[in-house]
Symmetry: C2
Subunit: 341 residues, 2 copies
Amino acid sequence: MPLTLEDIAKLTGVSRSTVSRVVNNEPNVRKEVRARVLKVVRETGYEPDAAARSLVTRRTKIVGVIIPESVTAVLTTPFFSQLLSGITQTCNARHYHLTLSLLSSPRGADDMYRRVVRSGYLEGIIVSSTVVDDPLIPRLLDDRFPFVSVGRHQDKRVNYVDFDNVGASQMVVEHLLQLGHRRIATITGPQTLSSGLDRLAGYRQALEAYHVPVVRELIVEGDYTEESGISSALRLIPSEPTAIFAASDSMASGALKTLREAGLSVPEDVALVGFDDVPIATAVAPQLTTVHQPIERMGAIAADLLLDRLNSPSQGMAGVNRIVLPGELVVRESCGARVSE
Amino acid sequence: MPLTLEDIAKLTGVSRSTVSRVVNNEPNVRKEVRARVLKVVRETGYEPDAAARSLVTRRTKIVGVIIPESVTAVLTTPFFSQLLSGITQTCNARHYHLTLSLLSSPRGADDMYRRVVRSGYLEGIIVSSTVVDDPLIPRLLDDRFPFVSVGRHQDKRVNYVDFDNVGASQMVVEHLLQLGHRRIATITGPQTLSSGLDRLAGYRQALEAYHVPVVRELIVEGDYTEESGISSALRLIPSEPTAIFAASDSMASGALKTLREAGLSVPEDVALVGFDDVPIATAVAPQLTTVHQPIERMGAIAADLLLDRLNSPSQGMAGVNRIVLPGELVVRESCGARVSE
DNA sequence: GTGAAAGCGCTAACAT
DNA sequence: ATGTTAGCGCTTTCAC
C-alpha cells in the first residue's frame, strides 16, 4: 500500500496540512520543519495520490490529443509522429501528461467524447486533422471545453495553429513557373481538410498570378497517402504535365515511383515538387524541390498555447489566438532546370 | 459546474447509490427505476467524475506507454507509429485510456518515473525499446508495478512480447545463402538493444549453419536510422560483399541509396535484404526481399496482455507470459538470383 | 507557522 | 431492491 499524507505526517510528527504545504511548495512553513518533512518524503519515496489531488483541485495535469480518423491511417503517416513529438516535448517540459485518443469509428467517437471530455479527466485537448465542418469543434465550443486546433478553422472562437499552406504551395508552384513550366499538374490533398483545400488554393493562385490557365485534367485529388500518390500520378501521365506539385511528401514519393516505372526520369522529363515535412520524400529523391514545414515545432506551439490558456488567470477570457507558421522553400539541385531554357 | 451523482439522484427521486448502480450496470435495480435513471442521465449528459471514482476504486482505466529514448529519434521512426497504433486499438476496444511518456533525459526520467508510477494515475505500463540492462525494468519489478515489455528481457519475471528476431534474421540470411551468396555483409542494429543483438545472432547462426566464416569486415553496426544505413553501406563497399542484410528497413533504405549512388545496382551487383516492418523499404525498392514483422499486431497483443493482467482476479500471481511472434519471409522478384547460377 | 475540520464525488459495506 | 453511512487521500478554509 502506498503511503499517504497522513503517514508522512505521523513519521515527521507534524500535521497533514503541514506536509501538504511542504509537498506543494507553499509558504508558511518553518525552514527547519520543511527540511525534516522533505527528508522523510524523499526517503520514503512518497508521491501524492493523483486522484485524490484531482478530486479537490479539479485539475488533472493531463491533456489529450484527439485525432478523429481511422487509427491505422493516421499513425502510419509521418505527420502525426512529428506532431506528437512536438506536443510531447512541451508537455514533458511543463509537467503535463499526454493522452492519445484516436476516434476511429464515428460510433466510438461519441462514446469517447463523453468519457474524455465530460468525466473531467482531461484539462484540455489538442485536436488535429479535423475535416472541415467536423462536428467535434462546435461540440467542444458548446461545452466550453478548452482546446486548440492544429489546422485552421472557420469559427472565430477557435484557437489554432497552422501552416501558411496557401503561401507555401504558391511559393513552390511559382518556383516551377519561374523555371518555365506551363503544364503543371497537382496531386491535391483530401478536399475535406483545410490543408488540402489551402494547398490547392495556393496552386491556383500561383497559376493565376502567371496568367496560366487552370485546367481540370491536371488536377487529381489524393488523400495524402503514398498509394494515392501512385494512382494519381498514373492518371496524370496521359495529360503529359512537365511538372507535378504533390500536396504531401508521401504522395510525392508515390508519384516518383510511378514516374520511374513509366520510364520517365525526374526532374528531366517531369519536375516534381512537394513538401518535406518528414524525411521520406528526400530519402526517395534527394533532388526534390520542396517546401519545408516544421511540424514538430507546430506541435510544441499548439501544446504551449493550450497550456498557457489552462494556466492563465483569466481562464479562457483571454481572447482567441491564431498562429500561422510560414513554410520555407527548399530548392535542391536543378529541379526542372532543363525546361526553363 | 458538471452534474454529480447527487444531482441525478434528486432529479430522479432516488438515492445516490441507486444511480451509481445504474451507471455502473450493476444488478439489483428495478427495471423501471433503471430506465428512469438512465433517461435522466442521458438527457443531462451526466458522466461520472473520473477522479472521484478513481479515488475510491483505486483504478484509473489509464495505461501508459513509456519509451526511454530521445524524443525526436523515437517518434520519427515508423516502428513506434505502428506500435502505438496497435496499442491504441486495444485500448480503445477495452475502454482504457492511453498516455504517452517519452523519457528523454535520464534526468527527467527519474522525475517522470515517480510522477507516473507512484502517483497511482497509471494502472500499468508498456515499456518499449529499453536497452539491455535498462534500470527501468528492475525498478518496476521492485515496485511490483504491472508492466509488459515490448522486446524480450533476461529477467525471468518480465512479461514481454517480442518478435523472433533471431529466427527471422536467420531465415532471410539463409535465403541469401541458398541463392549462392557467400560474401554476405550485415548492417546491424544498436548492440545495446535486444533486437539488435538478436538480428546479428540470427545472421551468425545462418552463416555457421552453412559453414561460412563470419568475418569482421562484413559486420558494421548501425542504429536503425536511415543515415546510419547510408554511412554503413559506404564502409561496407570496399569489402565487396555480394549481398547485404540490413537489420531494419530504414537502414536498408539508406543502404540502397548509397549503393545506387556508388553506381551499383540492386539486386544485380549487390543483393539487399532486410525488414519491412513499415512501407518505407518497399517504397524505395519494391524488389527487396524482406522479413515481415507485424508490429501493429505486436502492439495490440502487448496491450491485451497488460490489460488481461490488470483485470485478472489473481492480480499478478498469474505467472509470467512471454509471447514470441514469428516473422514471415517475403521474397520479391528474383533478388540476387544471378549469383546462384 | 501550524493544526483541526470540512468536504471534493464517488463506491461499497451495511442496513432495511 | 433501495437508502444510509463511512470513507478513499487530498486541499483548503478557519482557528489558534
